[in-house]
Amino acid sequence: MTRIGFAGMTHLGLVSGVSASEKGFGVVCYDPDAARIAAIGGRRLPVSEPRLEELAAKNAPRLRFTANAADLAACDVIYVAPDVPTDDHGGSDLGPIDRLLAAVFDAARPDATVVLLSQVPPGFTRSKQREGRTLYYQVETLVFGRAVQRALEPERYIVGCADPSRPLPPAYRAFLGAHSCPVLPMRYESAELAKISINMFLVASVSTANTLAGVCEKIGADWAEIVPSLRLDRRIGQHAYLNAGLGISGGNLERDLGTVMALSREHGADAELVRAFLESSEHRKDWPLRKLHATVLRETDSPTIAVLGLAYKEDTHSTKNSPAIALIRALGPWPIRVYDPVVKADAVPHPRATFGVSALDAVRGVDALALMTPWTEFRALRCGELARAMRGRTVIDPYRLLDANAAADAGLRVHSLGAA
């Protein structure tokens, strides 16, 4: 039976390891941090993803968590999959990959296949080849909040190879084959850029949608009415990223934009478009702040604002470049009430923030409410209850979580993206 190893038990490695066990493979999950391994072994997972805990418990007999790199010697294929930290400007810290890759090379059997799964800039994988070792780069397409589903049902595998004309090693082929999707071998550099290309197209869709939603707000059109017509266009498609949002966040897309900018600087390629994407993202991220100033903050002397949702999107604990955090930072002079179903209070960068025990608790007595993360539980909020709990009537609801008719009946003044 093919045994798969995963090195680096942060988001990518943990989700990938647990998903591999669900496919029936024996899996060794390694991380040099013994405390992290002990926590995971004790079922205290460091990340929140739908089905992750359930599958980890279900497949426990096939999953082995270890802080001893030597245990990877049992594996036929070893993925090196630490999360790559990014800074506020999209720069990557590749140090953790370097260290983990070196540890894996030292521990792996000579016939084992080593696969780099973390996202790296073009040129990185080729520079890490080692004599007598078989190294591949595989594109990860982790999406926060849908990571397990995407690991179990990938659309395709993009595999970067030293020589794409040579067949993949049998054990690696067997693992990929268990997922019944196309496998696309290509040279390292193409695969590394393919990952960036995918993200750039997503950014282009998001930026276009946000730009047009902004135009809608000025001219009395409604972006929600336009979106279905775009989805029916085959050139755009049913699954295109067309919903208006608050710019780019989460860190991964920003990193890829940063990589393209860096490649442009180094090689003289045109990247003006990337600059425009970044500028557009900055502009849209501050949309809730502008709305609050245009409504409550210019009229009320000592307002209290409720911010529901801190994560940069639903079903994740991540607040990386979160619009909610950006908004909270700009509300310094005023008291705020905060609630998020997953993110803890210590993530709130505000001296006068108090954390509600529920969404409804957080909105009691506030002058305005900003629904900053489209968590499912916020969609269930009843407008009548909100109106009774709040002192003011202004609701910033970028993602249209509330029912517009019910909100109007309750006397709430709702402001949403893409609508005048």
């Binding site: 930072r329 700009a330 310094g332 002079p333 005023w334």
Partner: protein, 301 residues
């Protein structure tokens, strides 16, 4: 964007305003004094920046812990000679600041430093001036950026109006003067160009805040609301009884390609969250009352 050295406002030991005799400079002096800051106003009387030995003279008037507001300019700079003279004034100031480095320097620049087609304009918009006036301010910013080693801020106002404005540029000030003389308020074409107008007191209040926080970086002094000249003319006309007439006149040349200019004032919201601009409606009414000696209309705090 602006970075504050002091999160909580803290007055400078003394504020020197170079160009204190002008429309904007005198307003800054008044607002600084109202905020309890010791002010040393310098006008051309105290130091003529184009005179021989001006750098030495200016340096002799500075103290090492001064916050300096540099607002002196021959404005608008329309000719090459005016451009050169303005740059010479900045050069002189730089020499003085090199001899006695200010604890904080605030340069009052202009939104003319931005490209005409930038819309909406933010502090991140590229500096690409299309006029000599814009080139002058962009070059002066570069001069001070190159020579000032301490905290340095640029405040970039858009079209300014106010009771004491000596200029009669197209906009609220000219419209009020035309109406006061019993003439019709004349707008070019239909006056459809939308622009942002900021009252001089708000520019001065922002300057005071920047000094109080010892901020670095750039901030646009703009309200974020663009209003057509047609609507501005009507607002001014309503201040008079009987209401002044608004007349369309032929444009003196082809309509400028810069038809509208909008600003995104998010950076101002972030730098000074509780700052509120006086609206054009309030500002035009208050300025009219002040100019005509009517009872003072109090402005928002």
């Amino acid at each position: 964007m602006l970075q504050h050295l002091y999160d909580k406002p803290q007055p400078p030991s003394r504020a020197v305003v170079v160009g204190a005799g002008g429309f904007v400079g005198s307003s800054i002096v008044r607002q600084l004094r109202a905020a309890g800051v010791e002010v040393a106003p310098l006008s051309r009387k105290e130091v003529d920046l184009l005179a021989q030995g001006a750098a030495r003279r200016l340096g002799s008037l500075l103290q090492s812990d001064d916050a300096v507001v540099f607002v002196s300019a021959i404005a608008p700079a329309k000719t090459p000679a005016e451009l050169i003279a303005n740059l010479r004034m900045a050069e002189v100031a730089s020499e003085a600041f090199a001899a006695v480095p200010p604890a904080h320097l605030l340069y009052i620049s202009s939104d003319a430093v931005y490209a005409d087609e930038a819309n909406p304009v933010t502090e991140r918009s590229p500096l690409a001036p299309s006029t000599l006036h814009g080139v002058m301010h962009a070059a002066r910013e570069a001069i001070f950026r190159g020579t000032c080693k301490g905290p340095l801020a640029f405040l970039r106002p858009t079209l300014i109006y106010g009771a004491d404005d000596p200029h009669s540029g197209y906009g609220p000030n000219r419209f009020r003067r035309q109406a006061a003389k019993g003439e019709p308020i004349s707008i070019f074409g239909e006056g459809e160009e939308k622009r942002d107008h900021v009252v001089v007191e708000d520019v001065a209040r922002l300057a005071v805040r920047i000094l109080m926080h010892r901020s670095s970086g750039a901030l646009n002094a703009v309200t974020g609301v663009a209003t057509s000249f047609h609507d501005i003319a009507l607002l001014v006309a309503r201040q008079f009884a009987p209401r002044a007439r608004v007349a369309s006149v032929a444009r003196p040349g082809p309509r400028p390609h810069l038809l509208h200019r909008f600003f995104d004032i998010t950076e101002c919201h972030k730098a000074f969250p509780d700052f509120r601009f006086e609206t054009l409606v309030q500002g035009i009414a208050r300025v009219h009352a002040e100019a005509t000696g009517a009872a003072t209309i109090s402005r928002p705090a």
